[in-house]
Symmetry: D2
Subunit: 370 residues, 4 copies
């Protein structure tokens, strides 16, 4: 039975002066080996990751670990508790509108100098030194005068500091109404087959502010910089955003499935000793990020979503009906909306009421079997 | 083929000075007979009623009418378009917090003087005169200086003026996540069996601000006042709040079922000529409003709702699990919540995140077959 | 130097399972004498009361107390921290829309039985027994199964339990943009002259859900019930809502003035020993609650507020200009709005953008010098 | 007396299917000459620009024009009408969090090919052809399939198409609580002295998504591209963001001052014939954008803002007090916050309640007299 420890880290203060804290759970195994970092619920409404962390803890207690694992539920104590009407309004800072998952720091600019200094270092030395550098530089940002750091940045940097210590980083999210899918860096596509997730987005080495990118971009750039010097080193960190399904939903049985899926991946990565978790035999489809297609509502109205999520849509299939009862007599009040290419429907908007231009669906296009 | 006419009535002005309007559709039949009033979407997220009005219009076009029917989709042009995050924040005025469906006017205070004046009138005279009085008095409130009427009251009074013209009033709502149910005044319980709705709330002659109450309370009180004078007259108006299911959802097939259900009731009330709409043979359960039980979250946390809506729960059954990952090590992180009486689960909260004291479920208790 | 103690009481739990707490400060003096209860910030944006409590504590430290004083800043830990855009959205529960200051419990129904039981009791016995009853009955509500109590009710009852222990209750609020004013029960009008507040609303013995009413209504009804039995006992508790000015503003100097005003009142009530706090010599105007006039925007538009708050307006004076640039060419785009009676402008809406029917101003009408 | 025409352009559709429109006013003068474009209220709470447009129209009616002027109030019909509590929540799309003023398109990528094609063209030909290109390319974006364009982008592109027709573009904004200031591209600093605005931010040729940048960046890049070819052509368009003061406020007298300030600038640019508008003799201070310093709340609490806006602060001066009444006994509850450099306070946060990391102030640092 593994020992689990809890630490509460302070990531801010609210308006009445009380601290904002995040619970951090750790299973240290034998204290050696690589590290795994898993967080959930950075967006307030995306709660299912907390249940997955619960199911992971329940199972990891019994496993023999070849690694240290850090698990962080409720990663965003502001977003998690921000209600507006019945729903949780936790996708962006309610004050500024900034997406909570776009505030991590990109340390890629450290690569050139590091490579210059470590042209003769061993792979292990590189790994240790670069990891130390990332952690220290993140800490240095946190150590700046408090008036330099905004609310979301402070939360993000505290999490990023923990994530940089790890070799494997999983950020558990959900879509609005969504099929399961995985954001996977292109270099790690082999790993994608060890998750029980049928849809895989292959993303390039471009930083957009999210935790997965903040975690792997510097390492990917490091690998490329060494390659330019004629030396082949692998990308030493893998980081994924795992999209578990729909927001505003807790499903404990499905959380167990998703915990098993993660444990299967960790088994493949040899983080568990004598583990028997295996990926399911399912078809997995991939799509390049540039082919991930946002379909905006071409007209405003009330939407019936008819494309089943995960389903393979043919060009011309109806994906939605839009009802506009203001004009029942003057135009066709019920309009069928179709897509003009083949696609897999991955997620759709959470509400039936849309303005013209609201993101209605996201589709895999030009997809292929992984 | 019946003629449908559209009128757009102005119910306010927004901050840029543009008018707020509501579309009003009318089928006048042969211009004689009783009147039916049906509105939808007073609460912004409760959109399915618009689809039911669409399906009603599609079918009523073909029917021979013994009545005049007024249909009002998008009854609340502010609530309908008020977003906060992905969801529609249209249950209450975003400025004041007032529930949009609690701002109708109670004209019951008109009853005593009216009865004194009409002790000798015929039933038809009473019906016509009291109807005229209700319409005029509602119009008089609207004709007051504009600075006397708040935003929600102006919308409500405009709708109420239309509703008071009718013998039958249906206000189409939905719950958050909900089974179909019907708010039915106790005197109209026989009518409840003509809707295809398995759960019926029987409500007393108490005004709480909603349209159904505003529509029937004065007529019910009128009937009782005459009864006190030894004269038996029926309650001459029937009004219902029809809860169609869940909010933020358009389902056109289900909307057709609900249109059929309403047409079955209208057939029973002889509003349609040679109509063959009939109620389905289903079990219908009723519950007195005082036994409609709100169950608040006993602790804060992340909720898995496990009581199926419409299902008959036994005392002690688990109705929800609440997960609290802040205290994984210090207490049982997953708690099973049960109810200590038999009940039918009618609706539950729309989000998986709840504070202590958030309304988790509403249950029929002490229910009986209708 | 008086000893100040702090207790943090738990009033709920948020969605991540953490407790909601409120800090309660107490100065016990010599442990005898009457009790004073002062709270602030029940509405999230009304923060100035916290600064007044700060200034009260700074001064009360030095005073000789003839009473025990309980001071509660941040009375509502949800409202206090609920942002939407830059501003604090803390006037109502963001989930339900219910005004946080309308959820206290009315214990007036206890009066009849109490009077029947205490017809022979002395005044001190009555005071002690009725106080004990109110506290116990409030505690009993809190001791009900947790699933019976909604979020706002739980906060309110916890505060009300503290307030019922006191002889004097002050609930510190602010208006949106507002002159200082005082809600004063009619029986306590003499006391109103000891606050440095020029505008006094005299309110009747009607319960609307607020803390001041919850505090004094039972005692006022008790006095009246004894009067009906031919026995004259005074109303033994005084409770006021003190409106300190505008929301979203901290002004420490003005907070000191308001602390002095409260200390002047407490001196008059002999709660302080050898205190020299005296009311300022200012004109004080009063208005019956029924004459407190809400003026709703007669048209939608952009508002320039021109009636100075606290100023005495003559019938016909312009109180606002409303600009409607959508219709610059088709109508007069700038409209002057006037009031058709004499009045004192007490507060106006916090935003320049109004819908038709937004509450623009509140006025004292039929006012008189106190 | 100049003729004013009004056109309402459609920029979207809301959820009930009704169009979103914006009023566009035009004074065409003699139909020749350059063009001026002025818009207001892109952010919902920043309403004062509408009043400035009102005052401009009132005065432009009387002027002899050497240009055509387009004025657009209520530039954002969603933001303008989005309430959350009393205040207008119109800084970002309430669904996505995207700042409405960060969705314009950057056409700078058109420059290289254009310069290659126009190396021999005259200045007038360049001006006309590049303007035509910008307008056409903006229109082309709008002509894409509707499902490609999100809500904010569609509004922005419609406005941008109008703005690209002009030689002078003014986007009227306000800060939260703010002194007047001007965003001025570095090349146009001479023009800044013709506005009656004491604080000028000099901004580089970097696109951040705002209208002023979208308007001038392509022209600035065009000038630089020709310079690289050895040909000196001026930047042919001037665009400014004019920050009029505080949000949520209409002040008609101040709007007249600001209209005069704009007319003074237009007089300097020879847009008016025989105009006598002149800038006021005031000190004007400038600051490079990189020295515009955001000061985040170093702790959470209730803030008294004490730095007067527009005032020159010395290093070490107190700029705010932060009150934290949760810890009255355990720490200093009132903390003085200071800045460690000289600065001019330009704006501060609109609310007194701040989380740690909320943007408290923005300061000009390293400022100099213009």
């Amino acid at each position: 039975m593994n020992q689990i420890s809890q630490e509460n880290i302070q990531v801010g203060e609210i308006a009445n002066g009380l601290p904002l804290t995040i619970p951090v759970y750790r299973l240290t195994g034998n204290g050696k080996g690589p590290k795994v970092y898993i967080q959930a619920n950075m967006h307030g409404a995306e709660v299912q990751g907390n249940a997955v962390i619960y199911q992971l803890l329940e199972q990891l207690k019994q496993q023999t670990l070849a690694c240290e694992i850090t698990l962080v539920p409720y990663a965003n104590p502001i977003g998690c508790n921000q209600k507006s009407g019945e729903f949780t309004l936790g996708r962006f800072d309610p004050i500024t509108g900034t997406n909570w998952n776009r505030m991590y720091h990109n340390h890629t600019e450290l690569v050139d100098e590091f490579v210059a200094q470590h042209s003769e270092s061993s792979l292990d030395e590189i790994r240790d030194a670069f990891r130390t550098l990332l952690v220290e530089q993140t800490q240095a940002l946190l150590d700046a005068p408090a008036y330099n750091i905004n609310t979301g940045k402070r939360i993000a940097l505290n999490l990023q500091r923990l994530a940089h210590e790890a070799d494997i980083v999983l950020d558990l999210h959900t879509g609005p109404i969504s099929a399961k899918h995985l954001y996977c860096p292109e270099y790690a596509r082999l790993s994608a087959s060890y998750f029980d997730i049928p849809h895989v987005l292959l993303i390039p080495n471009v930083f957009g502010g999210a935790l997965d990118e903040a975690s792997f971009c510097p390492w990917w750039s490091l690998s490329e910089a060494f390659k330019q010097q004629g030396r082949d080193i692998p990308v030493l960190v893998e980081a994924f955003t795992v999209e578990l399904g729909s927001q505003e939903k807790i499903d404990l049985a499905e959380a167990k499935n998703d915990a098993n899926s993660i444990l299967s991946y960790l088994t493949y990565k040899e983080m568990l000793v004598n583990s028997t978790y295996k990926p399911k035999e399912i078809a997995r489809y991939a799509c390049m990020l540039k082919d991930y297609f946002a379909f905006y509502a071409p007209i405003g109205g009330m939407v019936e979503y008819v494309a089943p999520l995960g389903a393979h849509i043919k060009a011309g299939d109806t994906i939605a009906h839009i009802l506009r009862m203001e004009r029942y007599l003057s135009e066709q009040p019920l309009q069928a909306i179709s897509l003009d290419m083949d696609a897999i429907a991955i997620l759709h908007f959470a509400s039936a009421s849309v303005n013209q231009g609201t993101e209605l669906y996201q589709f895999f296009t030009n997809y292929f079997e992984l």
